[in-house]
């Protein structure tokens, strides 16, 4: 695994992913609570470019007939089928017969520059 320069820290927002192709792989980067998260731009369902989806809060598990909206938990909603993934952990929000997870990419910040390991 090599470290590759991705962008300046100042280039990132909390609202949407910055997507770049690094070493032949499409990678998305975003800030959540001031922390940089980098993931492979690839949905484990049908391989859509998941980082192009909407970044939102989400509805938490609740009792029947209740809706508990959590604006702090940031999820990426895949632009094809709407599958939601927690950006911090990469885990899909729904229960399933197997675990679906986004592939997280290691990153490091040096002198306000973000590097990713691919």
């Amino acid at each position: 695994m090599e470290l590759h320069e991705f962008c300046q820290l100042a280039d990132l927002s909390e609202k949407e992913f910055l997507i770049k192709e690094i070493n032949g792989k499409s990678i998305g980067a975003i800030l959540v609570d001031g922390v940089v998260h980098t993931i492979l731009n690839y949905c484990p369902h049908e391989a859509a470019e998941v980082c192009k989806g909407k970044v939102t809060g989400t509805v938490l598990p609740s009792n029947v007939g209740e809706y508990l909206y959590d604006g702090n938990q940031k999820v990426i909603s895949c632009p094809w089928h709407g599958w939601e993934f927690d950006i911090k952990s990469g885990k899909a929000l729904f229960e399933s017969e197997k675990s679906y997870r986004l592939k997280t990419i290691k990153n490091s910040i040096v002198n306000n520059k973000i590097y990713v390991g691919v």
């Binding site: 938490l60 609740s62 029947v64 809706y67 508990l68 089928h81 709407g82 939601e84």
Partner: protein
């Protein structure tokens, strides 16, 4: 017949000779109404060219099929080594599709008392489903708490078709009472599924023929089961069990797979679902065999049974004395002995708490 497994028959139709047998169990002003005007169910029924009952099920003494205990004993109970037979009544499910709420609730109550005073006493092998009028959920819940604790009442029964999807909160008092009392809710095609307060019998309108109507009974259960799961009934009442009688089996894998797939994308609107929809179905629901699907190769049905975990979810039913009766030894062809036992009696024994 070269096998002699014990059998629990989960769908048997006993009935009264005349509706006047229920009159003593009614209160006024409804007592006189039943005596003078009959049930008053809405509408007619699709026309079956082969009729509605086995041709050999008419009692020699007269009367309607299912009204003669001795004949039922000879043709069903003793003939097949039946250990228990679940009595689901005849021509009572229509109470749920009447426009009124109070008269149908009293008809259901009268039926339950009549059942316990008559047929249940005829034979120790009989256990009964208690009737409710689902459009009156509060009265239904009260009736479940009154009668559902009787040791020979094994479940609540309601028309498969209801005025709106059964999982909706309007009906939850019924599920709460079932859960509290500890008996399953069961569904059976009936009443008149094309009139009264029943919705149109298929999503594309009225079919012309009984052949279509009968084939599409699975539509009803697909809709009701989906409603119960998605509305969170099994999340809200985790002890509740549901039994789907006479709707077949083979549609179930497709429904589960479609539900699970869609849930993954659409779960935000029903965040109370904590598990895959199919898990709720397999853990909470049972399906009776009749009318068994008859694919061109027996192994296809065995594969379907594997897909729906039939070792835990499928229970034998004959539908005696109706025209589409199933013989228990016919429906178990191709199964291994373990599955035969699970389907013929063990699943039902576990669900209803019966000793074999």
């Amino acid at each position: 017949m070269n096998e002699n497994f014990p059998i629990i028959d989960c769908d048997v139709h006993q009935t009264y000779q005349h509706h006047n047998e229920l009159v003593p169990y009614m209160d006024e002003p409804f007592k006189s109404r039943l005596a003078e005007r009959g049930f008053g169910y809405p509408g007619g029924m699709y026309y079956s060219v082969v009729g509605g009952v086995r041709k050999d099920s008419f009692p020699e003494s007269g009367g309607t099929p299912g009204s003669d205990y001795q004949l039922m004993r000879k043709q069903l109970l003793d003939h097949y080594n039946i250990k228990y037979a679940v009595l689901n009544g005849g021509a009572m499910l229509g109470v749920t599709l009447m426009t009124e709420q109070d008269y149908p609730a009293m008809l259901a109550k009268a039926y339950n008392d009549w059942l316990l005073e008559t047929w249940i006493k005829y034979d120790d092998r009989f256990i009964g489903s208690m009737m409710i009028a689902a459009q009156n959920p509060l009265a239904a819940a009260e009736e479940i708490r009154r009668v559902g604790t009787h040791k020979r009442i094994c479940q609540v029964i309601v028309s498969g078709v209801t005025p709106m999807p059964i999982g909706q909160r309007y009906f939850h008092p019924i599920f709460e009472a079932c859960s509290d009392v500890g008996i399953p809710i069961s569904f059976h095609p009936g009443g008149n599924q094309s009139s009264g307060t029943a919705p149109v019998p298929t999503p594309v309108g009225f079919p012309q023929y009984y052949l279509e109507w009968h084939t599409l009974l699975a539509n009803v259960y697909m809709s009701q089961l989906t409603s119960m799961v998605v509305e969170g009934v099994f999340e809200k009442y985790p002890k509740l069990k549901a039994v789907f009688i006479e709707g077949g089996i083979s549609w179930l894998p497709a429904l589960m797979w479609r539900l699970d797939k869609n849930y993954k994308a659409l779960r935000q609107q029903t965040p109370w679902l904590k598990r895959l929809p199919s898990e709720y179905i397999l853990n909470h629901c049972k399906f009776t065999t009749q009318p068994i699907e008859e694919p061109p190769k027996k192994k296809y049905l065995v594969e379907i049974f594997e897909m729906v975990n039939a070792e835990k979810t499928v229970m034998f039913s004959s539908d005696y004395p109706h025209w589409d009766f199933d013989d228990p030894y016919y429906i178990i062809r191709g199964m291994d002995n373990n599955l035969k036992e699970r389907v013929l009696y063990k699943n039902a024994a576990e669900l209803y708490g019966l000793e074999i």
